[in-house]
């Protein structure tokens, strides 16, 4: 397959966007007017990471369906690479979210719907890898993993809905800020960071896919050599 953009170019592009994004976030975007104040700066990384994690899981969902339809292992490779990166990004979402929570509300953990959803997402997709590790046969492992990836991705919005609108017990959701109306000067930094993060995801997916393909070839060669 002819490569449109080389992998180093993607990484460089991602880095450039992310650096410009963070520079603008600190020197161009205004300090948030709400109670969050300066701590809101982390938003320019936190939100793009979250978005990228969901994109990665979305790709794994589509790849899982494609695998079940075609039984072609290349889709399984794409799915597992995306879940792995999605999980990594989700853990980063939790980390940045907790730092933000500490700075803004002075508590490391709050059962805030979005953060709680990401916590459950981490458990879900960690289970995906446990599942993969206990099935030996390749086709069967790919099939089970695909079924679970589909179910898990369907569960994510449902979990968010449940944590957001059906709070446990009688207490209403404490934090309801939607953050929809963003002034343009904030949006630019956010937008550039988001492009940078998405490019980073694409670059990482490509690199990981190449590694997976190489791994498969190595094991094929080993079998061919009788090892």
């Amino acid at each position: 397959m002819k490569k449109l953009v080389s992998a180093p170019a993607l990484f460089l592009g991602a880095g450039a966007f992310l650096i410009i994004g963070v520079v603008l976030a600190f020197w161009y975007s205004p300090i948030d007017a709400s109670s969050m104040g300066f701590s809101q700066k982390i938003f320019y990384y936190h939100a793009p990471i979250a978005e990228t994690a969901l994109v990665a899981f979305g790709i794994s969902f589509v790849a899982a369906i494609a695998y079940l339809r075609t039984q072609n292992l290349k889709w399984d490779r794409l799915s597992v690479v995306c879940v792995r990166l999605g999980l990594l990004f989700s853990i980063l979402v939790m980390a940045t979210g907790m730092i933000w929570g500490k700075a803004a509300w002075d508590s490391w953990w709050d059962w805030e719907p979005r953060l709680t959803t990401f916590l459950l997402v981490c458990f879900l997709y960690a289970a995906y890898f446990v599942l993969r590790s206990v099935v030996d046969e390749e086709q069967r492992r790919a099939t089970y993993a695909a079924v679970f990836a589909i179910i898990a991705f369907i569960d994510v919005p449902i979990t968010f809905f449940a944590t957001r609108f059906l709070p446990a017990g009688m207490h209403p959701a404490v934090i309801t800020s939607g953050g929809t109306g963003m002034p343009g000067s904030m949006f630019l930094s956010f937008f550039l960071s988001m492009i940078g993060m998405t490019l980073l995801l694409v670059a990482l997916i490509r690199r990981d896919l190449q590694i997976e393909t190489l791994k498969d070839r190595v094991s094929d060669l080993k079998t061919a050599l009788g090892g």
Binding site: L131, I151, I158, A162, M170
Partner: protein, 228 residues
């Protein structure tokens, strides 16, 4: 045989097998009653504390774990006795197997609840909720369907793996959290505040939606989960 007859045949087989041995039901009921004692001591930090507000949560945690016990048993037997291989050799639609197994598990869960709910209510709930029985029964039924559908699908996958019963809770628990949130909230409302349909209706609709989504998802993927 029509799909309905096949469904009934598999369901009847599961029920008869359980009625003959009774090992699953008995251990599930004992587990539920033991859990009640454990919860009592876990939550009684002050003498004679009113646990009404905790009962919904206690009940659903107990049901979920009892169901995990049951799901593991139901598929371990199928697998060990090679009953499943026989089923798969029959000209039966895989989805029919799924719905029959789900229905069987639903029956077992309902039996557990018939025992557990009155006992829990007697021991923990300090107000009468008879006037709210209908919404409560609906919550039970809708949450049970979601638990059994998802549980059956995941148990089918996990029994074909190396670690079997170890894997099921890890796959099942994070997925079932939304049901737990809705069912616990609704049950607590019924037990503690007695509010009728008005306030539980959102949770009922949510559970209905959950059931629909995962029944469809399982219907679409069960062919792959059960294997060749």
């Amino acid at each position: 045989m029509s799909g309905w007859a096949q469904f009934m045949a598999i369901l009847r087989k599961d029920l008869i097998r359980e009625l003959r041995t009774r090992d699953m039901i008995v251990s599930m009921i004992l587990f539920v009653l033991l859990a009640m004692v454990i919860f009592h001591y876990a939550f009684s930090v002050k003498g004679n504390a009113d646990l009404t507000y905790f009962t919904g949560g206690m009940l659903w945690v107990t049901f979920i774990f009892a169901m995990l016990l049951g799901l593991n048993r139901s598929f371990a037997q199928e697998k060990d006795e090679h009953c499943l291989d026989g089923l798969l050799l029959c000209p039966v639609d895989r989805v029919t197997i799924f719905f029959a197994k789900t229905a069987g598990n639903l029956v077992f869960l309902l039996i557990i609840q018939v025992v557990a709910v009155p006992v829990f209510a007697l021991f923990f709930v300090q107000r009468s909720f008879v006037s709210d029985l209908l919404p409560f029964l609906l919550v039970l039924l809708l949450a049970d369907i979601g638990i059994c559908a998802l549980g059956t699908l995941l148990a089918t996958i996990s029994m074909n793996t190396r670690s079997r019963d170890l894997l099921l809770p890890i796959l099942f628990l994070p997925l079932i959290v939304p049901v737990l949130i809705a069912a616990t909230g609704a049950t607590t409302l019924v037990f503690a505040e007695g509010v009728g349909f008005g306030t539980v209706v959102a949770r009922l609709l949510f559970l209905l939606g959950f059931d629909a989504v995962f029944l469809v998802a399982a219907w679409g993927t069960y062919d792959f989960a059960i294997g060749e």
